[in-house]
Point group: C2
Chain length 496, copies 2
């Protein structure tokens, strides 16, 4: 597996990581599509595009208001794969992938879990693109135009997206004569939050939800702000104590060198940067993102954190000392690159869109305090708000997510409310620090693996998958089967 | 109890009953505040206004979007009665009345159920005014200005109202150090729908809901369109077969007389109208509203349907035949009036606001087919849509309520989802035709009385209350006690 593309992604992220000086990292919750698509084993399955139909739905711009503009219609894209489906009037289930902050094109390939299991469920597969991404942009605008218009981007919110999904699912069920088909919604990362929130808000549309790697408790004051970076740190420490120590010692060394005469020039040479560094911080930000993104995506069989640490630990220490080791880690990860740290990059829709989402409603207060391998960088809400205000002219609503969706006392609240939800996580994923820890009720359950990473369970199965991953996916399938069996029994009872 | 004011209310309603020719009746779901306030027994309790504090909350105009205008703040009014409350950090419950389509001023008096039971629960009472009513009108506008501005009235929707309630309840709990206090939301009629929807959407804010007389199934194709008028008819038929027959025969007689030379003039004299009738339909609309509103409000001890039927059945038949009987019914009901049918009237906020709500999202398809004492008048969606479009420039969204809140297959959906909901009804209330029929689960229950009317259980207890009403209220209190007891046990378990 070549990892070279990841450096490009990281630099995408770096270039968008600050908003008027306010850091917005970790940069993205996405599934890191580009990375996965580089995996030759997964690339093969790209041929599945032949199996699905691309459709468009006349979607309402603003579901919750009734101003004249609210009624504006836009085209929302969704994909249907009916290869395995039981067919009209069969009551066979429908698995709906709720798109997250990216175009939907890659979803059928990436979220292989659905295809892997469609046949045994005779399930219809539906993948819905999140509004404002890909080809689902309102008002006939380009993505950039829509994002740059304060009035247009104002409709880019999770509540609107959930209502979009409800409207499309209801439409599909009517259209395909599948009114009684149970719907299971599936999502990863931000999409996992959407899956949870969808089941809680639209139980009449979705029977159950698989919320993979959804940091639903990383809002307001629920989770300590340093939880994310604590896990990144733990991942490195568990992989290699010396690697972890080297990284921990590298930050002051970068500062020291950067402050020397010709320091930046020397650092640029030392790290073979694609263009001269403008500050020590530029390098530190790159490294921080490299470590976080590899911790998040520390997938088998390559385990990128191990790759980096092998580079760091195995480096010839005579050249450049600590920083030589760090650079060896960078090179180990970016095996085919000719330059590092700051290659030319364009902003992706994911980067730009997520930046807006975090600055409007998804205010995730992530900071770094002590007890990590990173220099402290606390999250200060007022600074974050100022930064967003400067960038977008509106302030984030830091309490909206917990007001609308909840989060505080989640076990107390859901113990006697709701059903049919799987919270799946891998504990090496830093986002898992804001997960639901344990089973809340008989049918609201937490399934996690000690060694798993971000959204790993949603990926297609591979020959090289470790047993614990195979077991996790199997457990999820069995639980969903149970929901559906109970539903069919209820349906039968009601038809009598 | 004088009933004279009711004629005024009916005429209010009549004057707003059509939108460009499209009938929008039955006219209102409200609690008919004016009627109740005429009751001397209840008027006494108006002194309770001394017990509560009037407060205002800085409310967000548009919770779901992030356009610059969305951030506009308006003052939303709410009332707090802490006379019986257990106090800060006591975990004593909070009962929240979710205001419906009327100013909140009258609520503490009308919804006596809360005050009657506050002491035994040591409950804080909160009454929140629905946006756009009373003193909770956005943008510093008058009610009329707000309703007449297509962009401003566009934010007048149930989803926004529910989010308002969530924000205020969370604020109150923080402010009064009542974070762990269980919240029970209570509402009647449209407010009952809000209570149900609030519990389903904000389970992290409200532990349970008492949804009184909420016709939550009168949307889309769930309930037959003629259900409402079937119950009105049944109420009259059950009260008096001859009364019912006289009414059934009266419509063609009105048409016949109206078509005669000087027919309208004769009808005007016959019914002692306050001003000359402009059509036979004007009289028929008045009578139709009189019968529906009295069926809806057929409360003990007076039972207005009985009052009307006694008038009709006891009339001297020699004068004016059938129409003489009908007029005797009108007079029996409006004992202190000097003229009838069309007294001078102003539109209330309830009338105007509800008209907009029905033309935007609350598309309740009520029509009259056969098998009723009324002339057929089917609900035709396309005509309704055209009428609303002509009046407001936007079309209703007839499927939105079922998309967002559900309704189809409600028992199947809620059997394994949600908890702590009481659907209360009185079966003489025509709105009860769109009720949940039976207990759905252990804690989602239907409590109804055969003889009850619209929202009757929410009113203050009276010496004259029949046993079945006393029992209904008692059953509701016991159920709510059960929810709260279970919650305290859970809370204790979690604190351990």
């Amino acid at each position: 597996m070549t990892l070279s593309r990841l450096s490009l992604i990281i630099s995408f992220i770096l270039s968008t990581a600050s908003i008027s000086g306010q850091k917005l990292d970790p940069p993205t919750l996405s599934l890191h599509r580009e990375d996965i698509l580089q995996d030759p084993e997964r690339a093969v399955s790209a041929s599945i595009t032949n199996d699905f139909e691309t459709l468009f739905f006349n979607q309402t711009l603003d579901h919750f208001d009734y101003r004249p503009e609210s009624y504006t219609i836009f085209q929302q894209r969704y994909l249907i794969d009916s290869k395995y489906w039981g067919g009209a009037n069969s009551d066979a289930p429908i698995f709906v992938y709720l798109g997250n902050e990216a175009p939907i094109d890659g979803a059928p390939t990436i979220v292989g879990f659905l295809r892997d299991n469609a046949a045994q469920f005779k399930a219809l597969l539906v993948y819905i693109e999140h509004r404002y991404f890909g080809e689902s942009i309102p008002l006939g605008m380009s993505f950039e135009e829509a994002l740059n218009d304060a009035n247009v981007r104002g409709y880019f919110s999770s509540a609107q997206a959930l209502a979009d999904y409800a409207a499309i699912i209801i439409h599909v069920k009517q259209n395909l004569k599948a009114r009684s088909s149970p719907v299971i919604v599936v999502g990863g990362s931000y999409g996992g939050m959407l899956a949870l929130w969808f089941r809680l808000r639209y139980p009449h549309v979705a029977l159950g939800a698989l919320a993979s790697s959804a940091p639903i408790l990383y809002f307001d004051d629920i989770t300590p702000q340093d939880a994310y970076y604590s896990v990144v740190t733990k991942d490195f420490k568990d992989t290699s104590e010396t690697c972890y120590q080297t990284i921990g010692n590298s930050w002051s060394e970068i500062d020291r060198v950067a402050d020397e005469p010709n320091g930046l020039s020397n650092l640029s040479k030392m790290f073979k940067t694609c263009k001269p560094l403008e500050s020590g911080k530029e390098l530190k930000n790159y490294l921080k993102s490299l470590y976080t993104i590899t911790a998040q995506g520390d997938h088998p069989p390559t385990y990128p954190v191990t790759v980096i640490c092998k580079g760091i630990d195995g480096a010839n220490t005579t050249e450049h000392g600590i920083l030589g080791k760090i650079f060896a880690g960078v090179v180990a990860y970016n095996v085919n690159s000719t330059c590092y740290v700051n290659p030319p990059a364009n902003m992706s829709q994911t980067d730009l869109g997520w930046r807006w989402q975090r600055c409007s409603e998804l205010v995730i207060p992530i900071g770094i305090t002590n007890n990590s391998m990173f220099p402290p960088e606390p999250f200060v809400l007022s600074s974050f708000v100022d930064g967003c205000n400067n960038s977008f002219g509106v302030a984030p609503r830091p309490h909206w997510i917990t007001t609308y969706y909840g989060g505080h006392d989640v076990e107390l609240v859901l113990r006697r409310f709701g059903s049919n939800i799987i919270f799946s996580n891998g504990l090496r994923d830093p986002w898992s620090s804001a997960r639901v820890l344990k089973n809340i009720s008989d049918s609201i359950v937490a399934i996690y693996t000690e060694k798993g990473s971000h959204c790993l369970d949603l990926f297609a199965g591979k020959q090289t998958d470790p047993d614990w991953l195979v077991m996790q996916r199997k457990a999820e399938v069995e639980i969903i089967k149970g929901w559906i069996a109970k539903y069919y029994a209820d349906l039968l009872a009601f038809k009598k």
